[in-house]
Symmetry: C2
Subunit: 154 residues, 2 copies
DNA sequence: TAACGGATGTTATACTATAGCTCTTCAGGT
DNA sequence: ACCTGAAGAGCTATAGTATAACATCCGTTA
């Protein structure tokens, strides 16, 4: 799994603080800790992987602790859930529309890339309209092999 | 939940038989029964809902029974899993490319419509190519309100 | 100080899915 | 007829994912 992240950790956390403030929400120590674990991970983390790590820091952590925290972080657009994996990744950009994002899941290395492709969004909207369907959130997850894994020959 | 289905039950089952044969697979009584339950349902069924129904017919049914059967039915393109719901629906058309299908999930009535929109497929392929990503299967699930629910005013 | 709302603690349980081994059946080769 | 191998199904146990419901703590404000 590649360790590359778009932003340094502290910058991402500061940004998260700002986002929460502007949403009238508080990034408490627990929430900040969980977000940090997700940011530091080389790939998607399941709730229970997160729980195991969290327990080392916060003895009282149990499943509801992490699920509640994840719910908060998702509401505030700081993390995404990957439905196929039951796992969570940091949101790469708090500014884009949280509902119109797509994921590229590499079956080799396990990394998940987040993209925001407007052609896809438009195609989805148009297809929905054709059916008289009023769309809310879209789940778009592509499985395959990422660029790095397909060039490195094995 | 609307009860409308595209095809009569027996026709769908006959077609399923044909598909399995041409895949060198056998639609056994168990598999046929499970498929029929899914076809008759007004909406998506979870594995355990299916299990409960199956138990009334086949006393020996346990979770692996239904999961194995579902795996078979998915491999043979007879059912789809809706990732967001952990639930299963019949495939509306065994002929289309099983990987390039999209779902419209109504939050009001719970029905799921299956579509095959080539503009979406093309947009996905293009976006993947931009990233050097080699796509396999795509999960595309749109949440929203279906035409029927948005016209009937409530 | 009382009342409240948000955050977290705590216990229990519900729901989803798979591992791994056994047993039967049936087709194909001898 | 006999052996064998592969597919299907039975069976037990357990792993993994998620939520309900109620208790407690704490800071703000009426």
């Amino acid at each position: 799994m590649s360790k590359k992240r778009g932003r340094p950790l502290t910058e991402a956390l500061t940004e998260a603080e700002r986002v929460c403030l502007s949403n009238g929400a508080q990034l408490t120590e627990l929430r900040r800790t969980v977000l940090q674990l997700i940011l530091e991970a080389p790939g998607p983390l399941t709730a229970y992987q997160l729980l195991d790590q969290l327990k080392e820091i916060r003895k009282s952590a149990v499943p509801p602790t992490v699920y509640r925290t994840l719910e908060f972080l998702m509401e505030n657009r700081l993390v995404h859930k990957i439905e196929q994996l039951n796992a969570f990744i940091p949101c790469s950009d708090a500014h884009h529309d949280h509902h119109d994002v797509q994921f590229l899941i590499c079956e080799k290395c396990g990394t998940v890339a987040e993209i925001e492709d407007h052609a896809i969004v438009r195609a989805l909207a148009k297809a929905a309209e054709k059916q008289g369907f009023h769309p809310g959130k879209a789940v778009v997850e592509l499985d395959g092999i990422c660029a790095a894994c397909s060039t490195s020959a094995h």
